[in-house]
C-alpha cells in the first residue's frame, strides 16, 4: 500500500522525525528532575509551597505528572502516527524481481536499458568469457548457489540475459518490522492504560483488606522479614495470603467503593500462597477479561501499631501492650505506651516524625499515670538507650534527662504492601518487543548484498557485465565483491588459477 506523494509530507521528513525524538527525549528528562505526583506527591506539595510564583505555572503545564500529561501522551501518539505514515509511504521493495538497485525505482526510469541499470551500481566489473548459453548459465547458477545467494532470472531481450542474486533478503524488512513493532509496543501500553489497573493494598499482619478493582478480600495471615546478620539489609520478605471472592460485594453509587450486602459472608476461597518478591500470586481476571491478575510483594513497613513493648526498669522487664496502662510492680505508677514511630526524626518545628516505614530508628511514646495525673509523654529509643525527649502539649520536643528505665524491645505489627496488577496489554508489549528485536537484529546484523550479472552473446563467447549493491559501506563489501568476481571469472574460464593467485596477492590489476 502506498500513500500518494505529498500527503503528510511533514511527517515523512527526517528533520521532523529527529525533532520529535528530541522533544520526547527532552521532556522525558524533565520528568526526572521535577518531582512527580505518581512517585512522590509529598515532594510536589513541598515544591509548590516553596515556589509559589512559578510552581502553579509548572503544575498547569502538567510538569509534575509529565508521563501521564495530555501533551506527553499526545507526543507518543504523534510518534506512532508518524511511524505509520512513514512506513505506509515507504513499504519495503517487493519480494519479487527487482532489476534496479533499491535507490532507483522502476517508475523513475521506465525505459532504462539493462546496461544502463548496471551503470548505477557502486560496484562494477566486466570481462569476456569463451562460454555461452546454457553452459554459462549453469556455471552462474552453481557459483551463486554455493554462496547461498537467492538467484532470480530476470529477462531476455535481444539475447541479453540478466541474473540477480541476493543474499540475506530478510534484511530489507528490518526497518519496517522494527518500526511497526514500536507501534505495537505503544498499543500494548494503551491497552493497559484503558483496561488494566494497578493498586496498592497495604494489609496489616493478621488482618484483611478489600481490593479496589476486584470483589476480593485479601487476608494476610503472616508477614515475615529477615535481615542479613549484623545489618539492616533485608534478605527476604514473604506474605502468607488468602484471597476470597465475595459475591455480596457491590459497588457503591459513587462507583468507587464497595459495600457488603452480607457482612457475614465468608466468600469463596480463590487461592492461597506465600508470595515473595519476584514470585507473585496469579489469579484469573474473571469472566470476559483476558489475562490474569497478579498480587505482588511490593513493600512493607511498620504503620505505628505494635503488639507490645518491653520496658527495662532496673533488673526487671515489664511487658506493656499498646494503649494499655500497666502497673509498674511495687509502685502506684501505671505506664502506657501509645505510639510507635519506626524511623524517628526530629522534624522542623521540633516535632516527632518518621521519615520511613522501615524500622530504622524505632521510638515509642510513653505516658505515666499517677493518682489520676498524667506526665508529659516521653519518647524512648530502642537503639539509643541514653536518649530521651519530652513532648509538650503543643507537640514540641525538648531534651529530657536519661530516665531510670529503657526501651528493651518492641514487637511491631507489620503491614505488607501488596501490589495488585492487571495488565492485559503485557502480551502485546511482549510481542512488539520481540518484533523490535527481530527487526533491529535483521537490520543491523544481516548484510544484504545483491549482485546483477548481465550476459550478452557476442563473437565466439559472451560479454559479462556485473554490478552489485550492499546494505553496508563500500569498505565492507569492496573486498568481498572483488574476490567474488575473480572467482566467477575463473569459473567462466576468463581467468586462470595462476592469474587468480597472482591477483589475490595484488600482482595483477583488475581484469
Amino acid at each position: 500500500m502506498t500513500v500518494p506523494k505529498g500527503t503528510f509530507s511533514l511527517f515523512r521528513s527526517v528533520r521532523f522525525n529527529i525533532f520529535l525524538f528530541s522533544i520526547l527525549a527532552g521532556s522525558s528528562a524533565l520528568g526526572t528532575f521535577l518531582p512527580q505526583v505518581g512517585e512522590a506527591p509529598e515532594k510536589v506539595e513541598a515544591f509548590l509551597l516553596a515556589h509559589t510564583a512559578w510552581g502553579p505555572v509548572l503544575n498547569s503545564l502538567g510538569l509534575f505528572n509529565v508521563y501521564h500529561s495530555f501533551w506527553f501522551m499526545g507526543l507518543l501518539g504523534l510518534m506512532a502516527f508518524d511511524i505509520v505514515v512513514c512506513k505506509l509511504y515507504k513499504t519495503p521493495p517487493d519480494a519479487g524481481l527487482n532489476h534496479l538497485p533499491p535507490e532507483f525505482s522502476v517508475q523513475e526510469k521506465p525505459d532504462a536499458r539493462l546496461e544502463a541499470v548496471l551503470d548505477l551500481k557502486p560496484y562494477r566489473s566486466q570481462w569476456k568469457t569463451p562460454q555461452t548459453g546454457k553452459a554459462l548459465e549453469h556455471v552462474l547458477l552453481g557459483f551463486f548457489e554455493k554462496r547461498r545467494y537467492h538467484l532470480e532470472y530476470s529477462q531476455s531481450s535481444g539475447g541479453v540475459r540478466l541474473w540477480v542474486g541476493t543474499r540475506h533478503r530478510m534484511q530489507r524488512w528490518g526497518s519496517y518490522v522494527s518500526h511497526v513493532s514500536l507501534v505495537v509496543v505503544l498499543l500494548g501500553a494503551l491497552i493497559k492504560t484503558i483496561f488494566g489497573f494497578e493498586e496498592m493494598v497495604p494489609v496489616l499482619e493478621g488482618g484483611s483488606k478489600l481490593a479496589e478493582h476486584m470483589p476480593w478480600e485479601i487476608y494476610l495471615d503472616r508477614f515475615e522479614v529477615s535481615y542479613y546478620p549484623g545489618t539492616m539489609t533485608p534478605s527476604r520478605f514473604s506474605s502468607a495470603l488468602r484471597v476470597y471472592e465475595k459475591a455480596s460485594l457491590k459497588r457503591a453509587p459513587d462507583g468507587k467503593d464497595w459495600y457488603e450486602e452480607d457482612p457475614f459472608e465468608e466468600g469463596r476461597l480463590l487461592a492461597q500462597k506465600t508470595i515473595l518478591v519476584n514470585d507473585p500470586l496469579v489469579l484469573p481476571a474473571g469472566p470476559g477479561k483476558l489475562g490474569r491478575v497478579k498480587i505482588y510483594q511490593a513493600s512493607w513497613g511498620a504503620g505505628g501499631m505494635f503488639r507490645s513493648v518491653m520496658l527495662k526498669i532496673g533488673e526487671r522487664t515489664l511487658e506493656i501492650p499498646q494503649r494499655t496502662p500497666t502497673l509498674v510492680p511495687g509502685t502506684a505508677i501505671r505506664v502506657e505506651a501509645d505510639m510507635l514511630l519506626p524511623s524517628f526524626v526530629v522534624a522542623p518545628g521540633n516535632r516527632a516524625e518518621t521519615d520511613s516505614l522501615e524500622l530504622k530508628n524505632p521510638a515509642v511514646r510513653f505516658i505515666f499515670h499517677h493518682q489520676g495525673n498524667k506526665t508529659s509523654p516521653l519518647w524512648l529509643f530502642k537503639n539509643w538507650p541514653e536518649l530521651c525527649f519530652a513532648e509538650g502539649e503543643n507537640g514540641v520536643l525538648r531534651h529530657a534527662p536519661p530516665p531510670p528505665f529503657r526501651l528493651a524491645s518492641v514487637e511491631p505489627i507489620l503491614f505488607s504492601g501488596l501490589q495488585v496488577g492487571y495488565d492485559p496489554g503485557f502480551p502485546v508489549v511482549l510481542v512488539g518487543s520481540l518484533g523490535l528485536l527481530v527487526g533491529l537484529s535483521s537490520l543491523f546484523y544481516l548484510h544484504r548484498r545483491r549482485v546483477w550479472v548481465l550476459m550478452k552473446p557476442g563473437g565466439s563467447g559472451s560479454a559479462v557485465l556485473a554490478g552489485a549493491w550492499s546494505s553496508r559501506g563500500p569498505r565492507d563489501f569492496q573486498k568481498e565483491f572483488d574476490g567474488m568476481m575473480t572467482e566467477l571469472k575463473v569459473h567462466m574460464g576468463s581467468l586462470s588459477e595462476t592469474d587468480r593467485s597472482r591477483k589475490k596477492h595484488g600482482e595483477l590489476n583488475r581484469v
Partner: protein
C-alpha cells in the same frame, strides 16, 4: 585477594593507556605491541578477580548463582571489564593501534573510581535483586554502554583527525590517525552492532519489572534515562540511515548519546531510589 587482582588490572589498564598515548605521539611500533600484551594481562587479572569475587559472593546463601554487580563497586568493575574487553575485540579486529588512547581512559576511569570511591565490601542481595534477571539485564546494558564508550573514543579520534586535515599545519597525529571515513564507518558499526543490545537490555528490564512489581514500565529515573539514551542513538541512526548525514554532525550526536549513558550510569543514582546503587531499596 580478588581486590589485589582488581588493583593489578586497574594498574595494567593505566599502563596500557599511557603506552597508547606514547604510541599516538611517537612513531614507536613497539609501544603498540606492548600495549596489547599488557592489556591482555590486565584483562586476565580482571577476569580472575571477577571469578574470585563471585566465589566469595556465593558464600552468602541468598546470593548463590547470582553475579556480584549489586554494588557500585561491582557495577564499575564490570563496566571497566566490558570497556576493556570490547576495545580488545574491536582493536583485535581492526588493528587501528591508536584507538587505545581514546577508549582506555574510560576503562581506567571506571576501574580507578571503583578503587578510590566505591566500597568493595560484599553484601547480600536485597529480595528484589534475587532473580536470574540480575545475571542478564544489567550485564547486557553495561556491555552496550561499554561499546558506546568505544564509539565515543572513535568519534573523538574523528574530530581530531578532521581538525588536523583542515588545519594548515597538520601534526604527526594526522598521520597516526586513520582516515576520517574509516573512523566514521567504525563509529557507525559499533553503534549499529550494540544498539540492538541496548534495546534488548531495556526490554529485559521491563520484563523483570513486570515479574517483580507487575508493571513493564514505571518511568523510574533509571529506566527513563535508559530510554533517553535509546532515543539519542535512534536520532543518530535516523540521521545516517534516512538523512544521509555523515561525519562530524553524527559524531556529535553519538557523543551526546554517550553523555546520556554516563548520566544513566552515575547521575541517576541520585535521582532513583529503585535503581540507585546508593540506596538499599530495590
Amino acid at each position: 585477594m580478588e581486590i589485589g587482582f582488581f588493583k593489578t588490572a586497574a594498574a595494567l589498564y593505566t599502563v596500557s593507556m599511557v603506552l597508547s598515548f606514547g604510541y599516538l605521539l611517537s612513531k614507536k611500533e613497539r609501544l603498540s605491541f606492548w600495549l596489547w600484551k599488557i592489556l591482555s594481562v590486565g584483562l586476565f587479572c580482571h577476569v580472575v578477580s571477577f571469578i574470585l569475587r563471585t566465589r566469595t559472593f556465593w558464600q552468602i546463601p541468598e546470593n548463590r548463582y547470582f553475579l556480584p554487580i549489586n554494588t557500585f563497586f561491582g557495577a564499575l568493575s564490570y563496566l571497566a571489564l566490558a570497556v576493556a574487553l570490547v576495545f580488545w575485540v574491536v582493536e583485535g579486529r581492526h588493528r587501528l593501534n591508536i584507538l587505545g588512547a581514546f577508549v582506555l581512559p574510560w576503562a581506567c576511569l571506571a576501574s580507578g573510581a571503583a578503587v578510590v570511591f566505591a566500597d568493595p565490601a560484599i553484601s547480600g542481595l536485597v529480595p528484589a535483586l534475587q532473580s536470574y534477571w540480575i545475571n542478564i539485564h544489567p550485564m547486557v546494558l553495561m556491555t552496550a554502554y561499554a561499546a558506546f564508550a568505544n564509539a565515543f573514543g572513535v568519534g573523538l579520534a574523528l574530530l581530531i583527525q578532521e581538525h588536523q586535515v583542515k588545519s594548515r599545519k597538520p601534526s604527526l597525529l594526522c598521520y597516526r590517525l586513520p582516515a576520517i571515513e574509516d573512523l566514521d564507518q567504525l563509529n557507525y558499526r559499533i553503534i549499529a552492532v550494540f544498539f540492538p543490545v541496548l534495546t534488548i537490555g531495556i526490554i529485559m528490564g521491563g520484563v523483570w519489572a513486570y515479574n517483580a512489581w507487575g508493571r513493564f514500565w514505571g518511568w523510574d529515573a533509571k529506566e527513563t534515562w535508559a530510554l533517553i539514551t535509546w532515543f539519542v542513538y535512534v536520532i543518530y541512526l535516523h540521521m545516517r540511515f534516512f538523512g544521509g548525514v555523515r561525519g562530524r554532525k553524527t559524531v556529535y550526536v553519538s557523543m551526546l548519546g554517550f553523555a546520556s549513558v554516563i548520566f544513566t550510569f552515575v547521575g541517576v543514582n541520585y535521582l532513583s531510589e529503585l535503581h540507585g546503587y546508593l540506596s538499599s531499596k530495590g
